[in-house]
């Protein structure tokens, strides 16, 4: 079973995991993800491959605690094993030289966006990044993004770092400044991607979003991950996860994401009420 090589707390409730997965490390391309389950009774959850080191045979996952499975992962340390790590899954990002590409990330969204920025830059694009977070303590990967040498704008909701306000405002100003923008890649909470698309729609700037519906198998077998894109229902795990944001029905996505809220709450309460170490050993 795949072993965790290192973990690191990047921000409150956001951790980096470096996991031994040599084959995936060699195969993965920007935009792809893995399905992970921390133990045999666990749920398989999708996580983007944020980085990979083929020489070490490892992949990097950046995970925000959202509920039971991610909370369980937070208890794992270097040396622990994950039960399932499956991938790489999903279509890789279509990387071509377009000119000026603007990456817009909200919160944890910078983790999946990072490999895309890297690949876009290597393909010869000028890359700008707008990175937003609630406040300074939640701003992650700033150092890594700076190291790419891209044009970086930071925004926080409370103004504790960078400009005060939402990423959409920064993007709107960038568009208004008259610079040519050939593509926007937006990754973050569905609501943020929805508003980014509204900003780019009037000027018809191609806008790619990475959708995160609830997934089960990740191979196109269940259809649980279906999203509405234009007139078509698409399976995000095999047809995506990236789609033309101007065609995506975000309201439907958000509803479907919340489909199991009651069970998620129940699972979390039960988990919080238990002595975690013994629960993990018991399975």
């Amino acid at each position: 079973m795949p072993r965790i090589l290192r973990t690191e707390l990047l921000a409150p409730r956001i951790r980096r995991y470096v996991v031994a997965a040599p084959k995936i490390a060699r195969k993965r391309r920007a935009g792809q993800f893995v399905l992970v389950s921390p133990h045999p009774h666990g749920e398989r959850i999708p996580l983007t491959i944020s980085d990979a080191d083929p020489d070490e045979g490892s992949i990097t996952l950046i995970v925000q605690e959202a509920g039971k499975t991610t909370a369980e992962m937070a208890l794992l340390e270097a040396g622990d094993e994950l039960t399932d790590v499956v991938g790489p899954l999903g279509q890789p990002t279509h990387i071509v030289r377009l000119g000026h590409v603007v990456g817009v990330a909200g919160g944890i969204g910078i983790a999946p966006l990072y490999p895309i920025l890297e690949a876009m830059q290597q393909a010869g694009n000028k890359v700008s990044v707008i990175l937003g977070a609630r406040s300074v303590e939640y701003l992650i990967l700033e150092k890594e993004v700076r190291a790419l040498g891209v044009d970086l704008t930071l925004c926080t909701d409370d103004g504790s770092r960078g400009r005060k306000g939402f990423v959409t405002e920064a993007l709107g100003e960038m568009m208004a400044s008259g610079q040519a923008i050939h593509q926007v890649v937006a990754i973050g909470p569905a609501i943020m991607m929805k508003f980014v698309c509204e900003v780019t729609r009037p000027q018809a700037i191609p806008t790619i979003v990475s959708l995160n519906p609830i997934m089960v198998d990740g191979t196109g077998m269940c259809g649980g991950c279906r999203v509405q894109v234009g007139n078509e229902a698409k399976f995000a795990c095999v047809d995506g996860p990236e789609f033309d944001g101007h065609l995506v029905d975000f309201d439907l996505l958000m509803r479907r994401q919340a489909m199991y809220r009651e069970q998620e709450r129940q699972a979390m309460e039960r988990f919080a009420a238990k002595d975690h170490t013994c629960q993990l050993e018991g399975v």
Binding site: E43, V86, P88, G220, M221, R255, Q263, A267, R270
Partner: protein, 480 residues
Amino acid sequence: MTQPTPPPKRTAKEKIGTPRPPMREQPPLERARNFLEVPFGYGPEQAMVEAERCLACGKPHCMEGCPVGNDIPTFLRQIAEGNFAGAARTMKETNLLPAICGRVCPQETQCEALCVIGKRGEPIAIGRLERFIGDWERESGAVEVPECAAPTGRKVAIIGSGPAGLTCAADVARAGHRVVVYEALQKPGGVLRYGIPEFRLPKAIIDAELTLLERMGVEIRCNEVIGMTDTIDELLVEEGYDAVFVATGAGLPWFLGIPGENALGVYSANEFLTRTNLMGAWRFPEYDTPVQRLNVVATIGGGNVAMDAARTALRLGAERSLIVYRRGLDELPARAEEVHHAQEEGVEFHLLTNPVEILSDARTGWVQALRCQRMELGEPDASGRRRPSPVPDSEFDLALGTVIIAIGNAPNPLIPRTTPDLDVSRKGQIVVDQESMKSSKRGVFAGGDIVRGAATVILAMGDGRRAAASINEYLESGKW
């Protein structure tokens, strides 16, 4: 183990006049709320009495009805004599997994349909006897690990661990080749594991078969999606496999294409059954994957998959479970036994009913009702089935909270999409030579649902067998 004494011999007339012994079952209302297996199976005495009823026809028609040509008369004679080990050996010459086929084969349209006794009495219960032998062998610990030839140094990759893949794995391993089975999901078994529910096929049976394969040296690697983790070309070139058998099944669910299908509470049968069977949602919150539990559940479709979903919904606590099917009772494609069991358990059949729209609550997005129209059957079409057509102005709404769509599956496109030189039909099925199971690509064989579309377990196993013979031949001769 003490062998029971063989039953007294009967005349042909007596045999034909005697019905098959009934199989004890869990009472319907009790079982509709648990996941335990429904029928208990024959005991040794019952099995011998029933097997003795066979007329040992010189020209056994029953065999023509079996897609893999099981030697049914010999197998029945051995059971009647109490030679269960012999019967198991006979069966396994053509059918590696009798405990499974005995439970899931559509016997009434295959072997049993052609049994001569069926013309005047009840046909021999071939399926039940097959199940008996498989269970007897497993439970008495008499399973013999097939002997494998000395290692040849050749390596074969099998993609997919459903009945086609597992059958092929056994036969290729027997020839001394090294076999690795790749499976995308976390547990092997294919539809036998994630689709067919525990109450119809206990997972312990699949586990026993897998243990046997492992004892034969077959390696099973779960969590590897071929086409993504490795492509077929990479298996052949980089990983050094001499041949590949593609048995990836028909795992792409069809939806109806009617308005409202993305509403909350609308599942494909694959998702509903996978969450329940494979991910353990029926034991939520002990297992982490949830499934929605609601009062009224409608399953659309009339095949085995639909019956499994409707009966699973009851067991998950649904107050009412409905089957909505656009043709009539006689046209239901499911096995007769499943329809019968579903009816006994209280599944409501809404026949000649065609869904046209799924209505949901505008505020929450949750399913509220299924808008349907009534159908009537017209003249038989080219396939001989009477074609349903809508009755004008007959729309009505069924109020409900969950909809499960079970109208069929298409082949999963992952492998064809990532293997450019593999010929695929318009429907997405891999094109093979029917005898040798060879595809258009050298070294690549395919069988089961990926070449047939959604078919049956026994056909998948038959394909696995034929492919194995052909693979063994290819590795021996090197000739394509």
